[in-house]
């Protein structure tokens, strides 16, 4: 550690000869250490392989140093749970006090992410979409990643799915999957009234679909859920989302157009765009989660 400090000071003196404040110095030491390790790791792999112990020691030392610095930062941060913290300001007050008339949602989190800060959520839906497209790019069967052996294995799997008897899994799947999906739909539809919303509900529906697919095999799923349906649902959901949000951004920023009626807070048909947006997000997420599963197992939806 002493050595690094002197290197930094040397550099510093060379640059402009000023003094370094203590805190900055501490942080620089942390930083120069980390970069040294990165450099080692990526540039002389052979060297590290010979020095596993050194490498391990360095990683642990850096992590411990990091934790130490962060603990001292935590020590200086605003107190946990104190109502006088900086985060407790007019922004939060408005979300909580005017949230109901402005968004119509009694779940303030849903109101916040789908109305006040909807641009972030739009980005988030896009992240999910891009991730599933990446997985399609990586794992969907094509001539570069699909061999005859896998073809045969897949055929065997299909055969087992059709002929093997797995009573516990199949009866359980048959009984549970509809209930799980129903619960997911409930969570989505009540996203603006109670905890949950499009994302959690969609994941639950996706889990139900995964359960069903693992009990009965993907062949059976494909009778009603093909790659085409998958793309259509995803794209349809995102386009609806995009259209709703474009409308509200455009009208909001230019002060034109009509307000969407907010309905009576607490009722299921209320909160303007939040309910349709939740449904869109739910559909996208459910398809995406099942899509991940299907691509991971068979390389096809």
């Amino acid at each position: 550690m002493g050595e690094k400090k002197s290197v930094w000071e040397h550099l510093k003196a060379w640059v402009d000869g000023e003094e370094v404040i203590l805190d900055a110095d501490k942080y620089i030491v942390n930083r120069s250490k980390r970069e040294k390790k990165n450099w080692r790791r990526n540039f002389s792999m052979e060297y590290i392989r010979g020095n596993v112990k050194l490498y391990r020691f360095l990683s642990i030392a850096i992590s411990v140093l990091f934790i130490g610095i962060m603990l001292s930062v935590v020590n200086d941060l605003p107190e946990f749970g104190n109502p006088a913290n900086p985060a407790d300001n007019e922004v939060m007050e408005r979300y909580l006090e005017s949230g109901i008339e402005e968004t119509g949602a009694t779940n303030f989190v849903a109101g916040m992410i789908l109305d006040y800060r909807a641009f972030d959520t739009f980005g988030e839906a896009n992240v999910l979409f891009l991730a599933v497209m990446c997985v399609v790019l990586l794992l969907k069967k094509d001539q570069k990643n699909y061999s005859a052996k896998e073809e045969q294995e897949n055929r065997e799997d299909d055969f087992f799915d059709e002929n093997e008897k797995r009573p516990i899994l199949q009866i359980g799947g048959k009984l549970l999957a509809p209930l799980i999906i129903l619960y997911g739909i409930y969570v989505i539809l009540n996203g603006h009234l109670s905890p949950g919303g499009g994302f959690s509900g969609g994941t639950i529906i996706g889990a139900g679909l995964i359960l069903y697919a693992s009990a009965y095999g993907q062949k059976k799923m494909q009778t009603f859920f093909t790659f085409r349906t998958f793309t259509l649902i995803c794209v349809g959901g995102l386009l609806t989302y995009c259209a709703c949000k474009s409308y509200s951004f455009f009208t909001g920023a230019n002060h034109v157009g009509f307000e969407i009626p907010k309905g009576i807070p607490g009722h299921i048909l209320s909160a303007g765009f939040i309910l349709p947006l939740n449904i869109c997000v739910g559909l996208i997420v459910a398809c995406t989660m099942y899509g991940f599963y299907a691509l991971f197992t068979k390389g096809d939806i």
């Binding site: 370094v20 605003p78 900086p86 109305d115 988030e124 992240v127 891009l130 790019l137 094509d142 909001g252």
Partner: protein, 501 residues
């Protein structure tokens, strides 16, 4: 009904148009159609950004655009001024030229059924870069950084070879480390300021500096955010993911990643410096000095690594590291003149490095997939246009007058005069790095022009018209930026003055 100012809607339109095209492309089955959609989208965004640029320069204004019904501290916001508009125009032009010039590579190297997916990623990447440029909210920045990461990884791995998978993994791990640090920084910043939008944060931070209450957290946060951005934009010690990734990716992807994606993070960093951590805070916390030192180190080390490389694409990747070092050096000078030089260099590097990657890709294709500089002897005779393009790009990187690279170096040297105590360091390193640049670029230029015996037996490759147009376009842009640089620098200066206010 009030009067609608459509020009102010342009940032929002361009981001949403790019994203919308990305979504729609998923329905397309044919790569050519996807390519057309992409080209039209970029063209439209480019024209719109041009109008925006003309308007903001004329009115000398910087404006915020409310995303939704709620004003600043409650809703999201976009913010556009001359700098943002200029960057959007540059991104559109470079993207257009690069993708049309490199479309051959896409259609050849990516499997036909996956070509539409490639264009989805390109569209999303374009939208995310625009969002990073325009954003005025730190969490939006985080979300779009993630989109940028995923889309750029997809561009790298689209080739489908094992090497590209390895490159992608490396790139992904290091990028995720960067975004993790950025997120940690953002959340600590939120907890000490209580805001997520840039202007409100700035006020809160100035308050903190005054009261000295959360000084250590502020210091560490600033450090984390800038380490995050430095990792993302491959500043010298964090550059290790670049060579493998750029080497394995198709040339179009490499060009876009090196020329535009890295720059979008740098611009986010510049916005953070001026709009969140004001100049004063940066000085007090000595962050600029750190960036300056790492920039200098990057300039030299990037070139040194590049000299060691025998493969052309890897060499170009390391050269990108060196150029990123220039940009950070400019930022680190801590003066507005330095920042102007850095911004100008962003433009110069964007148009030059994409040109180099494009030509390099065509050389590699001509020499039958061999990538060493040794194998490319005589490549310029087989493909004259690409040879000329490569030469112009290389000379510009070295810093020959009349070319864009020269102007940025002049500006860096001029800027060094204004920052006390850094002049000697800047001038020495600038000189050394120019010599090093020349040392690794000239051999490759000489190699491609060296005639090889029996070259006549190899057929001269036919150049497709789009490729020719885009190379010529890049060359013209390079000369234009090298000769008529005055208006550009005036716009940059103006926008920096506006940003500081």
């Amino acid at each position: 009904m009030e009067h609608i100012n459509l020009v102010h809607n342009i940032p929002f339109f361009s981001i949403f148009l790019a994203m919308l095209c990305g979504i729609i492309t998923a329905l397309v089955k044919n790569g050519r159609v996807a390519y057309k959609i992409h080209t039209i989208m970029v063209l439209v965004v480019g024209i719109m950004s041009g109008i925006l640029l003309a308007s903001v320069v004329k009115n000398n204004e910087i404006f915020t655009f409310m995303m939704g019904h709620f004003p600043a501290p409650w809703g999201n916001e976009l913010r556009a001024g001359p700098l943002e508009a200029l960057m959007a125009v540059t991104f559109s032009i470079v993207m257009l030229l690069m993708v049309s010039g490199g479309s051959e590579f896409i259609f050849k190297d990516v499997l036909p059924e996956k070509q539409p997916l490639y264009f989805i990623m390109l569209n999303a990447l374009f939208g995310a870069m625009l969002a990073l440029v325009y954003t005025n909210d730190i969490f939006t920045a985080y979300v779009f950084i993630e989109i940028n990461t995923i889309a750029s990884c997809a561009l790298i791995m689209a080739k489908g070879t094992p090497q590209s998978m390895v490159g992608t993994t490396h790139y992904l791990v290091i990028s995720l480390l960067g975004s993790g640090l950025f997120l940690l920084g953002a959340s600590i910043l939120y907890s000490i300021t209580g805001h997520l939008l840039f202007p409100q944060m700035k006020e809160a931070i100035l308050e903190i500096i005054k009261t000295e209450q959360y000084r250590l957290p502020l210091l560490v946060v600033t450090g984390f955010m800038f380490i995050g951005i430095a990792i993302k934009s491959a500043l010298f010690p964090f550059h290790s993911m670049l060579p493998g990734a750029y080497h394995a990716a198709i040339p179009t992807s490499s060009g876009i990643l090196s020329g535009l994606v890295l720059k979008s993070y740098v611009i986010l960093g510049i916005k953070l410096i001026y709009c969140v951590f004001s100049e004063y805070v940066m000085e007090t916390l000595k962050i600029t000095e750190v960036l300056f030192a790492f920039g200098l180190a990057g300039m030299v080390m990037g070139s040194v690594y590049a000299m060691k490389e025998r493969k052309m694409k890897r060499m170009l990747a390391y050269s990108s590291v060196a150029q990123i070092g220039y940009i950070y050096m400019g930022i680190g000078m801590g003066t507005r003149v330095g920042m102007t030089a850095a911004c100008f260099h962003i433009l110069a590097h964007a148009i030059t490095k994409t040109l180099l990657f494009l030509c390099c890709g065509s050389f590699v294709e001509d020499s039958g997939g061999k990538e060493k500089i040794y194998h490319m002897r005589g490549a310029a005779h087989r493909n004259l246009l690409a040879g000329v393009g490569y030469t112009v790009g290389a000379l510009s990187m070295v810093g020959i007058p009349l070319l864009a690279g020269f102007i940025s170096k002049v500006y860096f040297a001029t800027a060094s005069v204004y920052s006390s105590g850094k002049m000697a360091a800047v001038l020495i390193v600038l000189g050394v790095s120019m010599v090093l640049n020349a040392l690794y670029f000239l051999p490759s230029v000489i190699a491609i022009w060296t005639p090889v015996k029996g070259a006549e037996s190899r057929p001269t490759s036919s150049v497709s018209p789009v490729f020719a147009v885009s190379i010529v376009g890049f060359i013209i842009l390079n000369f234009a930026l090298g000769i008529y640089y005055r208006p550009i620098t005036r716009i940059i200066q103006m926008s920096i003055d506006l940003l500081v206010q």
